[in-house]
Amino acid sequence: MTRHFLATLLFALLAPLSAMTDHQADPPGDRVVCVSKQINEFVFDIGAESHLVARDLTSIYPRDILKLPTVGYHRALSPEGIISMRPSVLLTDGNVGPNEVLDRVRSVGISVVTMDPGDTLQGAEDLMIRLGNYFGREEQAATLVAAWKAGMEKAIRAAGHWADQNKPRVLMVHFGQIGNSYLGLSPKGPAEQILEWAGGRNAIAEGSRMVHLTPEMIAVAAPDVIIATDVGFDRYGSVEKFAEMPGVNLTPAGRNLRIYRIDETEMMYFGPRTPASITNIARWLHDK
């Protein structure tokens, strides 16, 4: 047992080093467990979904992915849950919890590959290319990125019509499942960038990433339009009911019932569907 223990100790001490090693050199294998909704979507986009065997709870796009079993919520993972899938590799974008999960998974000899796209469009495009290389679908990835770039250009140009006009104030409302509360999407993040391309202005000017929303904050932000992600919107069920949320009822958006529902996966990260999102949002903001 001593030898084994020493080996384990050595492995455990070296584990942080292995985090820096780029396991992308190894092929993904046929039992990929991916706990990032963005990466999962991209994998389907480049046609590599046959490699996947399990997902996390929040990966729900495209619909076909729902056939795969889940290993839980990506912020409440259990090592054994992942390992029981006997993955050839665990694929993440870095957004996982609890912190030690990746360590534990590595410690039993399973590769963990982290591809973090960051907050930029370029980062997302790079992610697509990397995934193309990783799964040996470079051509598909390249084609997709080209079409995506073209789509982005077109959508931004079309939305640029409204660049000079009055940019409506928009409040983007997300729902935090762990804290069970509504969050406002604040500066720095794909959502705001998408909004700006669509010709809107973020009603929240401070903070970074996400802030807890209070009725007062909502009222003070005084948005002309509210865009709510699916889970949060569905808790109220309809535009009229959502407009009755404390704080919302005091805003121009609430009074004019300019509340729109959007799928989280269409706004929280950049992807090939972003051009369509820009166009949709632009229509909501500017078609009266």
């Binding site: 839980g72 409440a76 054994e80 029981s84 912190n99 039993v108």
Partner: protein, 353 residues
Amino acid sequence: MSALRQLPYRQIYLALMLLLAMSLIASASIGTIVFTPLDIATFLGEALGLSPTGPDVLNHNVFFLLRLPRVVLCGFTGATLGVSGTLMQGLFRNPIVEPGLTGTSAGAALGAAVVFVFGGTALSFASPLATAGVPLLAFACSFATTMIVYRLSTTFGRTEIFTLLLAGIAINAMCNAGTGFLSYIARDPQARNITFWNLGTFTTADWRGALVVATAFAACFMLALHHGKSLNALMLGEEDATYLGVEPDKLIFRLIVINTVMVSVATAMVGVIAFVGLVVPHLLRMIRSADYTFLIPASALLGALLMEIVDIVARLVIQPAELPIGIITALLGAPFFLWILILQRRAMGGSYG
């Protein structure tokens, strides 16, 4: 029940040890990945060098690196909480005392939360500093809060039990507010950890954590064992205990220190787990005796046993995800606690002092 009350203590210990052994085997087997007794025997054989490592390296690793440390950590945490509850109930001569009532658990949780939120990149999870930082700061905060509660309730060397309980409640409230505040202002990645902390989990158990908790428990348990007599004597009241050679103020201080070390180390590794310290001594009193020379060792055994059972449940209910332990202990512990209250009201003169 009355038949059990005639049994010598030794036989109860044996029965508990037997049940504990069974629960350890069950805990080692059951989970998202199931290990049959044959599997376990095979792995042990491989580890001892009796046979070469088979083809199933993955399961071998999962068993030794994830499952086994979890079983160990779980058992020692349960033992810690069980003994801690016993010590506290003996010290305060109040059966509704929890290890967390002196502000110990809440302080530990607050210390851990501070590391998560303010540790920043220096204490990101890959760094060895974090692995030491969390339990250290948890212990430091836990000790600080416990000492505050103790000092507030001790004047001229005499400790007022009632004041201690009230001060503990106040400090608990403050720590919970602090932890709540930290989780509120925390940037998202940090907040994930704090929520877990308040609910307790064995999900990410490893050998380091298991051995730290085991060591802290073993040391504190050895020290606590000697004080069974003194806790019995304390039942007579502080003055009569003094006549028997007990020094109540020294005793209280010593036991508070022992309790704090044990509980804060366990809380730093696992998070806050409630009700175990409340339920274990009660069950033992019902089964056999309120004699502290019996309760201290027995509560270690029963605490470990119950914790293993609860952890098995935590692993099974929402497979492959896991339920935080604190939720189950609260769900089971709270009704039990209410039941105790009802029974106590019915019992004739059922006061413990």
